[in-house]
Amino acid sequence: MARHTTRALIGTGALLTASALALTACGSGFSEPAESGSAAGGGSLNILIGSSGDAETAAVQSAVDAWSAESGIDATVQTANDLPQQLSQGFAAGSPPDLFYLAPEALAGYAANGSIAAYGDGLANKDDFYPSLVENFTLDGQFYCAPKDFSTLALIINSDMWAAAGLTDADIPTDWDELASVAQRLTADGHVGLAFGAEYQRVGAFMAQAGGGMVVDGQAVANSSENVEALTYLKEQLNAGSFAFAADVGAGWGGEAFGTGAAAMTIEGNWITGALTNDYPDVNYTVAELPEGPGGKGTLQFTNCWGIAADSPNQDSARDLVEYLTGTDQQLAFSEAFGPMPSIQSAADAWTQANPELEAFLAGAEYAQFPPNMAGAADVVKDFNAQLESLKTGDPQAMLDTAQSNLEAIVE
């Protein structure tokens, strides 16, 4: 009996040791990227998306299914809970998804460590993309990945509050002074004239209108006099009480402030139309182009691209799928399903015809800036956003000087 137990124990111990060794030595977590990268293609595709909701998931799923039926290659779509983290894990483990959504601020980091394939130049419809979007995903002269769609910022106006304040279509602001005066008129008991997020991703539109920006021609220009002028203008309006940051009126973002009636106007992108339809269907609104500043028209564009992993053995079929997904028909279908604008110029007319009331968003494509996309830029923007929260009492010059020194450290 005793001998039996001992033998069983030895057996168990041996088994544990063996399995532990197996885990350390042969686990997929430690395999070299080169091994899988050199494998022959033709397998099924894994697609990882950071979805905005069921509508987007369903639209991507049906588009991918249609492509699978056409090409005969299996593809599975997964939605990520936390896309940057899941991507990082995939790259570190050497088993990334073949195709995935990729944000421009994450591009530089992944490009630097060789995680993603620069396939943009090989696309058949390369010249159809808006040039600024191509630029958004170009690093060191290499066009990395195809922009999947894009959005710009515009001025969203609550039509009922607008009419109640005695304003007409002719009053839609075209410059900063007019914006300030209509915001003043729209500010009433219980709501402010204009509310938007306390972040560069909204404030940056004013910097663009003043003729400034973060990075111009590879140079950090965050503390330019134009940017100081933009922040000073905002600071004055915030203190006048006709502008407010969304958080200050108890909202998580501009769309919420607008939908709940805490603000008569907001500055948001295309995604607000979906939120308003779903969450605040009773709010009537008009979309207008953002007013001009001293430096002319200005807005910001936001986009994601279809990234392809450098370690993926199926890069050819992945690129084929990207061409399919960025085709005119698919882009218009996506736009109808969840709101963004097609990233290709050939779909512009059809989109405008289908969405005449949203034309202002597409008009912004002409003059939109995009947030800096070099490695480390996301941290710089985050730091700038942290400072912007106290713009009401802060010193614009000092904030921009900090952003400038942070930017200079990463721009080479």
Binding site: T6, L9, I10, T12, G13, L16, T17, A20, L23, T24, F30, S31, E32, P33, A34, P84, Q85, S88, Q89, F91, A92, G94, A106, G109, Y110, A112, N113, G114, S115, A247, D248, G250, A375, G376, A378, D379, V380, K382, D383, A386, Q387, E389, S390, N406, A409
Partner: protein, 380 residues
């Protein structure tokens, strides 16, 4: 750590055998059996704790970019570069690390004493035999501890929103509550501001440590962080109450009675009799509290992601953010190891403060002097 502690234990078990003459005899093979019994734990801890920790340590000294194995030949050794970047780099990385340390230091400084005091107080309350419905109160106080921190964080976000329940209650007494989770201003700065002090003296604002001026270090926790601190006290004091309660139940009633006979009042009995006997429990609570407070992560991740104004960034969250979101894996690992050193330092410091000291001669004499008249009194 645990794996390291286990090995000497096993060795100690083998000790007496080695002290005995030879390896042959009736106790032969006992050491082998001992190793065999501890092997499963050693293997599991080694594979899932020691190896990953050592790999992370290597990453903190390397330029690994997050692709492929950190042990592959293409990954280079960069010495202390990652550590230098966060401590003397002079850039954003240093300032972020300084901010995270500042936030967490205030958190530890206020949460640890508060939660310890509150849990001890609760334990004393529910330990009283006269209390009706003791079971109910014990359960009620313990309940927050068993609820998931994610669920409590979400609850907290609702309670402390601009128009939430907390501000509603505050408005009953005429206080216009802050927009809790969106208020980056420091509590100490706010208090000073109420007295008209809005900027610090040049000595504080002019000099800096880890990229933050001393004036910023002294800002105190932000309003948003204060809400998290209340939450930490709320959720952990139940657990620690249980530890204190166990300690209290271990104290025999006779000691208490003896103190009563000696004429000690309730206050003296608590400070001189009960509390010293609770020292082991106190040590456990403080150690667990210190470690837990330096590792704040899930509340931040699910709640504010470090906002507003980076005032709720903690080193644990910053480490995650640097590695997974900014692709600075070496920096993330370096932050994690600095945090590890901080935790070990405070644990040792606390152990040293709470060490058993011999009774000083002055104290001892005090007792001798007192004992004579009291004995007379008793004889009378």
């Amino acid at each position: 750590m645990t794996a390291l502690a286990t090995a000497p234990d096993a060795a100690r078990q083998g000790g007496p055998r080695r002290a005995g003459s030879s390896g042959k005899g009736i106790r032969r093979g006992e050491a082998a059996a001992g190793w065999l019994f501890t092997l499963p734990v050693l293997v599991i801890l080694g594979v899932f704790l020691l190896v990953p920790v050592l790999m992370a340590l290597w990453v903190s000294f390397s330029d690994w970019t997050g692709r492929g194995s950190p042990l592959s030949p293409s990954v280079g050794f960069v010495g202390l570069d990652n550590y230098a970047e966060i401590t003397t780099g002079g850039g954003l990385a240093e300032r972020d690390f300084g901010t995270a340390l500042r936030n967490n230091a205030w958190y530890v400084l206020l949460v640890v004493p508060l939660q310890t005091a509150l849990s001890l107080f609760l334990a004393l309350l529910v330990n009283r035999a006269v209390l009706r419905g003791r079971g109910f109160f014990r359960t009620a106080f313990y309940f927050p501890s068993v609820t998931s921190s994610v669920a409590i964080t979400v609850l907290w976000l609702f309670l402390f929103s601009a128009s939430g329940a907390v501000n509603e209650v505050l408005s009953w007494v005429g206080i216009n509550g802050p927009n809790w989770f969106n208020e980056p201003s420091g509590v100490l700065h706010n208090i000073l501001g109420a007295f008209g002090v809005t900027s610090g003296p040049a000595a504080l604002t002019g000099n800096s440590f880890l990229g933050l001026s001393w004036w910023d270090w002294l800002a105190g926790p932000s309003v948003a962080m204060s809400a998290f601190m209340l939450m930490a006290v709320f959720t952990t004091s139940g657990t620690f109450m249980l530890l204190f309660l166990a300690g209290l139940q271990n104290i025999g009633g006779d000691v208490e009675e003896a103190a009563m006979m000696d004429g000690a009042n309730a206050w003296q009995r608590f400070w001189r009799v009960t509390l010293p006997q609770l020292k082991p429990a106190l040590f456990t609570v403080l150690t667990l509290g210190l470690i837990g407070c330096w590792q704040v992560f899930d509340q931040i991740y699910t709640g504010t992601q470090g906002g507003p104004g980076k005032t709720t960034v903690t080193p644990a969250y910053l480490s995650y953010e640097s590695a997974f979101l900014s692709q600075e894996w070496g920096r993330g690992a370096a932050i994690a190891f600095v945090l590890f050193v901080i935790i070990v330092f405070f644990t040792i410091l606390q152990r040293w403060v709470l060490r058993d000291r011999p009774v000083s001669r002055r104290r001892a004499r005090q007792y001798e002097v007192h004992s004579t008249p009291r004995r007379k009194e008793a004889a009378r």
